[in-house]
Symmetry: C2
Subunit: 157 residues, 2 copies
DNA sequence: AGAAGACCTTACGCGAACGTCAAGTGCCCG
DNA sequence: CGGGCACTTGACGTTCGCGTAAGGTCTTCT
């Protein structure tokens, strides 16, 4: 089975990856600046491989769960090690175990937050059913560009 | 049943809450500045009630799941509404539904991240078992204050 | 030829969430 | 009554994760 059939050796432009994952070119270049991805070059232009794409996916996932880019970098490095320094690996291992515990605790937080929000939604629904049932099930922007409230948020940007 | 037995009407100083929840006085004042908590005063000093404490807990939970302080503020406000403007409530409802979806997706991300990390841990363990089995099961700091690596992270703070 | 895109680099800017002084107040303790 | 501690209010500094010009290169279309 020829290699180009097993995996078409496809490459991606920066724009393509951005569209696929919903991020900006600036962000990708920023990640590269931080050493998280290192695409090939065609002249000046960046050329991303499947591997780069996979890394990007991990980066974005990590971000969404609140990892800092530096932490994501450590995790990504792991896949390049192979025969690295044992002490270093031991440190990584301990760190990752900590990370796992943190993530699991975070998952509990999420569950609780969802509960809170869902209870809040029920209360709101009840109220709306009694007053303005036609406003239910609307997407956010279909409702109205909110007028300025008096005591909204004191100095928030 | 007298009230002071049902709930001792206890209050907290800023330091006490900080110790309990592992944050700094600066952070608490910052949240207050943003309108997320409004403790009473004894002269100049802040006096936190059980209610304030509960709000703080929600704030920190929200933070850990990646909510911005402004979003946390909206959620907290909900518990003060009662008979608020219906349109406003409808907007809140839609927003919260969105938030719930986001959180559930985030939960999936966490599950995947945990998988990644756990797989990574297995690989590291295998390697260490073959090379330096005595380093296993150590907490991070018991191992060694890491020596400076050459190509660590190019410009990360 | 000229204009339009898609890419590049450099560099300054920004908002969020605090950290970190500096300077003052109130209260207890020896 | 001086010292120390916990608290206060500014006000400026910092880090992270990019956004946003400004200007240059290369290809491609008309």
């Amino acid at each position: 089975m020829p290699t180009e059939l097993r995996r078409p050796a496809r490459t991606f432009t920066i724009r393509q990856l951005c569209q696929e994952f919903g991020c900006t070119p600036r962000a990708l270049r920023f990640y590269e600046d931080k050493g998280l991805i290192s695409p090939e070059r065609d002249g000046m232009n960046r050329v991303y491989s499947y591997k780069d794409r996979a890394r990007l996916q991990l980066i974005l996932r990590g971000k969404r769960v609140g990892l800092a880019l530096s932490e994501i970098g450590e995790i990504l490095d792991l896949y390049e090690i192979g025969d690295g320094c044992a002490t270093q690996n031991a440190i990584s291992l301990a760190k990752f175990r900590e990370r796992i515990r943190a993530l699991e605790s975070q998952r509990r937080d999420i569950d609780m937050a969802v509960d809170v929000l869902q209870e809040a939604c029920s209360r709101l629904e009840d109220q709306l059913k009694q007053t303005r049932p036609e406003l239910l099930e609307q997407p956010v922007e279909a409702i109205r560009p909110r007028r300025p409230r008096p005591g909204e948020m004191r100095r928030a940007g």
